[in-house]
Each structure stands twice: as structure tokens, then as C-alpha cells.
Subunit: 304 residues, 4 copies
Amino acid sequence: MSSFTTLLHEIEQAVKPIAATGKVANYIPELAKVPSDSFAFSISQLAGASEGVGQVDTAFSIQSISKTFLLALALQEMGEALWHRLGREPSGNPFNSLVQLEKEHGVPRNPFINAGALVVCDVLLGLYDDPLLALQQWLSEESGSMALVDPVVAQSEIDHSDRNASLVHFMRSYGRINHRVDRVLEFYCRACAISMSTTQLANTMLVLANHGSNPISGKTRFSRSEAKRINAVMLTCGTYDAAGEFAYRVGLPCKSGVGGGIVAVIPNKMGLCVWSPPLDVTGNSAAGLAALDMFTTKTGLSIF
Amino acid sequence: MSSFTTLLHEIEQAVKPIAATGKVANYIPELAKVPSDSFAFSISQLAGASEGVGQVDTAFSIQSISKTFLLALALQEMGEALWHRLGREPSGNPFNSLVQLEKEHGVPRNPFINAGALVVCDVLLGLYDDPLLALQQWLSEESGSMALVDPVVAQSEIDHSDRNASLVHFMRSYGRINHRVDRVLEFYCRACAISMSTTQLANTMLVLANHGSNPISGKTRFSRSEAKRINAVMLTCGTYDAAGEFAYRVGLPCKSGVGGGIVAVIPNKMGLCVWSPPLDVTGNSAAGLAALDMFTTKTGLSIF
Amino acid sequence: MSSFTTLLHEIEQAVKPIAATGKVANYIPELAKVPSDSFAFSISQLAGASEGVGQVDTAFSIQSISKTFLLALALQEMGEALWHRLGREPSGNPFNSLVQLEKEHGVPRNPFINAGALVVCDVLLGLYDDPLLALQQWLSEESGSMALVDPVVAQSEIDHSDRNASLVHFMRSYGRINHRVDRVLEFYCRACAISMSTTQLANTMLVLANHGSNPISGKTRFSRSEAKRINAVMLTCGTYDAAGEFAYRVGLPCKSGVGGGIVAVIPNKMGLCVWSPPLDVTGNSAAGLAALDMFTTKTGLSIF
Amino acid sequence: MSSFTTLLHEIEQAVKPIAATGKVANYIPELAKVPSDSFAFSISQLAGASEGVGQVDTAFSIQSISKTFLLALALQEMGEALWHRLGREPSGNPFNSLVQLEKEHGVPRNPFINAGALVVCDVLLGLYDDPLLALQQWLSEESGSMALVDPVVAQSEIDHSDRNASLVHFMRSYGRINHRVDRVLEFYCRACAISMSTTQLANTMLVLANHGSNPISGKTRFSRSEAKRINAVMLTCGTYDAAGEFAYRVGLPCKSGVGGGIVAVIPNKMGLCVWSPPLDVTGNSAAGLAALDMFTTKTGLSIF
């Protein structure tokens, strides 16, 4: 097992200036308050060691990274039957989201567009009395420490949820949502408002690097096939409209969030998480993309 | 170096019945005439051996698989500058192709939708006096034997090219096409009408498995980075609207054609090609997908 | 002043069989209960006489005809300033409604698509403490008798309002809605649930036939220019995707509702209303369209 | 019969400054050369007199006004059967044209979008050996003097016809076009390149004002019903994305062209034509719209 600490330090120095080219998300006030020069990069190897540089123990808002965990939890419970409720193909671009949803009679294209994640929330509401608690427990076990919801961020998300409310009502008009709209929204907003550190998130990725079984939790969450499915969805749909760019530059399954975090998986080897709040025009962390690009280029650890 | 011949025979028996669930392409008469029970599966290992089952030396119409080679040739000549002419992101679905093309001012989303391949043809018309000859020479060198154009298929393609003519004129109205519309169409139709065997195609994939250098031709065609780019585009955009399904079930960069062929790449290891004419509803070879799925499942050779 | 009673009887006989080709709206249970052979046709002349055939005093659910009155009331109060909140151009077809709304940043194309009527409701919520009462009073004065809300229909509308809730939340995400979503929806649903007879509705149309001043109410509601505006919007947008067909066959400003009513205006002469519940594929009363077509053809009273 | 000459002079003075707010079409060089202060306004009354102000005898490029005459000629020959080839509903906006065409399997929404006029050209190619000559003869008879094609404009149109070529090939891919693409385009471009004066065009409108029979030609071209159809299509679709605005401000069936001309019809009374090259953002003559608005406001001759 090799140590990457020297390389991570080198990457930190190289990519921190890139953060200045991005813009911290400000659609909710709480996100805008995060210092734009925050940075952390953690890797967690299957063989056992976790290492990192920067603020690796600072919890930040995971935002859309939560979509990965919502999906994982739903697949763990339902298996392939989940795919009767939503698709797993790339969606083209955000412009199309509503057109596609209309054309496809309220069935979202994949679990990483908002409409899809909201359906997954509706599924989990039917599987757990308290799906948020279930998600937090799952994350705590997989990451090795507590995953908390930031109540201020959660409330801010709920107060700015008209667009998502529109999506849920729209799908509900096609009979695709089983629960009350406000319950779906509230669960979704709280899941996005979970705070975790890069150390925690890199640890959590091990379940996907190791085909469903994370040595940290000691649990088998799902089959090899389902782990492959999640990785495939991450690679093709995990980074908004930059999936092609990430596939090329990083060459790993990734999922990003507007809080500036990006998680990634190297199958059979490790989980990764980088955090830098300023986003590029595609909504992905500018320095985070550069850091992952540099990591796979220097190590040759891309899947391609 | 292991032999996969026994496995390939097993796969052949298992998947041939699946061909009956598909439908041979009939939009041009020549394709409809191909026997629906044709089958071949070849693999070509970097370490040197080529093996296969079925009609591995029967040439068939490569159709959209040619888009991979057009892209490879253009990247070889132009490198990253090619991407000023077109994008490399998934396009969502065919329904959107014209909307996207309009919204994005005539710049195609990626080189594997028709609009994108037609732009690549326009690029190659500016780089070679006879780009079709250049493409055939490249393919002959990479595959180890001659790659011929089927003149009957080519003429049939040209006679049924209204949809593609519409795309070229549309892009030309945005100033995105430099050559005469009929020249672009003719080159594109002839490239689609190239016939090759699964042996040839599996050999040709080695240039992508080996980061730009094919031991068969002994030539370095492009950089490691460009090979990675082509593989990434194949994985995210290579199989029409089933990219997510292929990424999950096969877990390899693939490119399919309506002639029933599918090529695939296992980085650092081998090139693959399977052929079975009947197509599923997404336009991909039904038995071909099943064969590649079975191959990666049995061998564990997926990239995920 | 001529009497049209003989002609109206003739039309009734001719078009009643056409009702059998249509289908009574059933998206809310209350509408599905209305006898499909209900029929009434009333005209109200500026010169003074009202006449009709069939169940001219039976109140039915006016549904989208209310959009005309919501628009009239908002224009009466705000004049041209209303058009800062929404457009007045045809919208193409329902398929596009969400695309257009997204492309046009949450500003609806016209007041007769649902999104537009919901904006008008939001406007009226800012102008009146009880806009529903104001609307009912206005209708009672213009029609000469009370206009009541059917509480069962209203509740049913509210219970099936996911699609409209989606639209309001969507526009609100662009900052286009000033009031609480549930208040906008409730007012809109109650306005659609108003019941009126063809006699009442034909009377109400006189304010548009007479350039803003209805002899029944004795009030001037708006300017000649604003009356012209409403008539123009009715002609170009009043009958869903059949505006062109209505313009040709009827040749009058019309507004239809899924309750089977259609109102029409002959400028300088009269108001009309026909009612027959079964709808054609475009959502307009099948026999109602035929009746208005026959009326204008026989009398030569089209505007063209 | 009243004389409107005083009013026309008043309008000329009032609206000429508005021309400065517009922009002369420049997508083909020949149009850009027309003096931007050109102006003419002609009316032709059924009762017999023709009058006007400005350059009423200067021929200008009629451009899309030709769509009205192509439609008239095709309806004259085919009657209602024409509508099996295309629709007659508003199309929303230009953004949608290709989406709609794809969604509606190559059948254009109406004869006044380019796709629709191109289908009408294809129809006329099947009805006449030389449809351009037939159109010119028809126009000469209806207008009272020769209607010539400007060969320089025509060639320029043909040289800039990629967008229209795209539309024709697209429809042809659905089997909606019977003739060679280049023949359809050439006829369409030549029809757009016809030059006529406002006097001629106002005269020609009499056939629509008088229900199919123009006193100038002394011929009955089509039925009252077909004249009504053309007027209805003009009102709902004749002025690009400003149909609602024209219906309100002018209140007459109108058809505009990018040469700066607008024709209009007052049923039972007169034909009108105004010409001023600078266009507003919707592609309609800025001063022309103002002139027609003022004419109907001052005379009260709107259809509403």
C-alpha cells in the first residue's frame, strides 16, 4: 500500500489558485458564507489507510452528493425493482429536464437529476418510518463517524424549494409520487443539508470501490452488480452537464455537490473526496475537478 | 495470457437465442438482406493472441462504428483543437438532437450523434484530399488487412440521406460546415458502408486499449490523453440512448452500429468485437449486448 | 332587431347528434356526472333581446371560460400594466407550455393557458381582499343574476391540482408569483367551479361586444381598446390548440371550457353561449363548435 | 365611398419617424441596399377607388407576403384537400419550429411558417408545369399589372438557403415532399423574390376582402369559405411571433414580409398595403405596424 501524501500536498499547491476562477454557490445564504479558500482532499484505501491534506475534518454541506447515498440506500432495500420508478440514462442537459419529464410521463431519466432524487426520496419514505435517520445511520456506519444535518441549511433549502416543489407536483400529476409533497421535499432538503468531512466521505466511498462491502462498517450493503450500477450511473450522470468532461479528465465515477465537494471511486482500490467551494460554470468545484484530474494523471489510476 | 475460447463458445450458445428478440435494420434494403442468425465474437489481446467464435472473418457493414474511426483519425490530425468544432457530452436522447443543435447554434453535442460525425467528416475533408482513402488505409494498418467500402450499401445510404442532409444544411446555416453538403454526405455514407470482420475490428480496438499505439500497425496514432478521451466518449455516448445500460451491464467503452456490430475496449488488455444483426429497441445488437455483458460478468473485466 | 329563434331550433336539431362523437370530461368526478345530452344555445343582442333553445337556465360549470372573466377583471383594474406580468401571443401547443415557460423565465405566453390564468389570479389576490367575491359580483352584475361557486366541484378541483401547483411553484421559482401557492390555487379552482347558464354567459359577453360597456349592468368596465384586446386574445388563444380551426369555422372571438360551454362575441351586435358537455380531441365542445359554425355560416355574421 | 387620402397623409407624417427604431433586413445583401426611409401606403376599396401616399408605384421585394399568394393558389386548385399536407394552427414561436416538425412527423403547423410554405411549393410543383409563371400570371391579373421576379434577389435567396434546405430535407425524410429538393427551394426563393408595389398588393387583397372574387380580375378564385380560411390563417399566423400584437393593435388579417411590406384585409370593404423597410424585433415593419394601427384606430374599421 503506497502513501499518496506527498502527491496530495503537491496537488493542493497546484490547484488552490484555480479556486479563484470559480464562484461559491449563493442560491441559499448559508452556502455563500463558506470561506472560498477552504480546501481538503482525502483518500481512503481499501487496504486500510486514510490520508489527506487541508481541512480534512471540517464538515461541509454535501448537497447533491447525498443523491449517491439516497440511491445506495434505495438500491440496498429494493434492488433492481427500484428501476421501475426511474431511469438510469444521461439526461442531456438541464434545459431538457422538464421536457423529458413531460415526454416520459413523469418518470425521471436518472437518480442524479433533481426529479430522480425526489422519486428516490418518495421511495425511501415508503421503506422507513424515518428515512432521514436511516440515512444518517447508514452514513455514520459507512464513514466511521456521525453524519449530522445542518438545521440552518435545511431550513434555507426548504424556504427555497419552489423549483423542486414544481417537479414533485408535476410527477405527482402523473401518479408517480406516493407521499405528500411537503414530506418528500422536507426529506430531500434535509438530506442535502447533511454535513460531512472529506475524511468521512472518502471512507464512505469504499462501499462502492469494494463491490458493496465496506471494511469500515463491516457490512455488505448490496451486490457486486448493484455497486457496479451505482458506479456506472455516477460516471455517466454524476457531474451535471460535465459528465463527458469528467470521464475524460478524471476518468472515475464521481458525484459532485454545489457545496464544493466531489466524491470519486477507484474500483478495487480506494475512495476519494475533494472539497473546494468555488464552482465552475457547470456547477462543479473548479479546484476539485483540477485536483482529481491531476491525481489520476500523476498516478495513472483512471479506469480508461 | 489466458485463452478465452471456451468462454466465447459458451457465450455463443447462450446468447444466440436472444437474437430472435431483435429486429434486423431495414431502413436501407442491403442491411435487411443480412441473415439474422449471423454471429461472431472476436477478442484481440495486447499480449498478442487473437481468438474468436462464429463467422469471425465475414465482413459486415460497420455503419456507426465508423464514427469511432472518423473521430480517431480527426483527433490524430488535429488533437484537442477538434473540440472547437463539436462537444463531447451525452446528448440525452434523439428527440432532442435538433432542439439541442438549434439551442447550441449548430454545434453538435458529441461525435457519436449523426450531426457530430458529419462535422468530423467536414473536418477530414479539409485535412485530406481523399479522406475516405485515408480512413481505409488507417483501418487496414490497424486491423492488419484491407477494409473495403461496399458500393451497393454506400449508394443505398446516399439515396436515403435526407435526414442527414437536413442536419448538414442546418449546421451550414450557422456557418459550421466548410465544404459542399453533397461532399460531406457522400464521404459520411461511404465511411458507414465500410465492411469489416469482427477479427479486424477487435484488432483495431487495440490502439484504444493501448493508449494510442497499436502493436499490429506498430504506429503511435495519438497520445495517451487522446486515447483516454475517445474511450470516455465511447462509454458516455457510444451506444445511442443506452449508454447508461451499457455502462452498467458491460462496463466498457463500446460503440455500436445498426449493422449489428459492437466494438469494445478493455484498457491495458484487449479489443473486442461482437456481431449479431438483430437490434433491440435502442438500436443496439440484442445478442451483442448480451454477449459483452456475459463476457465481463464471467471474467470480472469491467472497468467498474 | 331580428329574431334568431327559428335558426337556433334548426341548429339544435342538426348538431345534437354530433355530441355523441365527443367525450365528457372526466378528470374530476363531478364533471363526469353531467348528462352528455345536455344542450343549450343562447344569444343576447345589444339591441336588447335575449333568446335561446334548450336548457338555457341550467347552470353548468364554466371551467376555463372563467379565464376570460379573470382577465377582464384584471384589465379593468390594471389596464395595460397587466401585460408586464404575462404575454398575449399564441402558445403553440400544450406540449410546449413548460418549455416556453422555462425559456421565457416563468412569464406565461397568454392569459388563457393555465400558467397565464394563474398569474392573473395572483394579480387579483393583490387587488382585492376577496377576489372570488369581486369576480362573482362582477359576473352577477354583467349577467343580470347570481353567479354561484359549486363547492363540490371546487373541492374536486383543489384535490386534483398537482399540475397547476407545479406551474405555480415553477413560476414562483422565477419570482413571478407574489402570494402563497395554496391561495393562488384555491382562488383559481373556485373561479373554475363557478356555475352559470348559457343565458347568463351570453349576457356577460355583451361587455365585449359593446367595447367595454354592458347595457345590462349599465357600467363601463374598460376602454374600447381593452375590449378589443380581450377579443383579440380570445380569437388567437381562446380555444386551446384549435384556435386556427375556430377562427376559420366560427370566425368569432371564442372561449371554451371543459364543462362543455363556449362563449363567443360578435362585435357591435351580440354575445353568444352554447353548451354541450361532450368534448372533441382538442378539448372543445364538439356540438358547441358545430353550432357556432352553423350560426355564423347561416347568418354570415363572421368577422372575416 | 369615402376618401382616406387626408388620413393617409397624416399617418405618413406620424409614423415615418418610427422607421428609425427598426433595422432593415440584411440576411441577403440585396435587401440591405433598399433605402430605409422608403415609405408607401395604399388602400384599394371594393367600391372601386385606389388611393395612397408615398412611393405607391415602387416595386419592392414581397418576401413572405408571397406565402399568402402561394396558399391562395394552392387552395384555388385543391380546396380543402390541401389541409392533408399541412396544418393551420399557430406555431408558438420560431424556437419550436423544428421541435414541432419532428413531433408532428414532418407536417408543418401552418402555411406561413417556412416549412409550411415549402410544402405549398411542393404541392404547386405537382399542379403546374411552371408554377412560378402561374403565380406571376395570377398576381398580374389580381393586381392589374405585371408582377416580376427580381433575379438578383432570387439568386441571393438561393445562395442563402441552407436553413430552408434543411427543412425540406427533413420533411422529405418523413415522405412529405414529392419533388426534388432543389426544385422546391428554387421555386420558393423565386416566389419570395417577386417585386410588387403597394398599389398592386392592395389591389390583390381584394380577392380576400370580397370572399374569393376580385373585381379587378373579374374572376372568382375560390369559395367564400376558402377566402375566410385564408383570412383566418392570416390573422392567427400572418405576422411571425406578433400575431397577438397585430390582432390587438391592427385587428385585421395581415401578412408581413422582411422586405418591409405588410398587406391587410378589411372584409367586405378594402385591401391595404403599407411598406417601410426597417423591421422591429419581431421581424415586422416597425412603421408599417404603426401605420395600420393608426388607420384602424382612426377609422374604427377593426374586425373586433
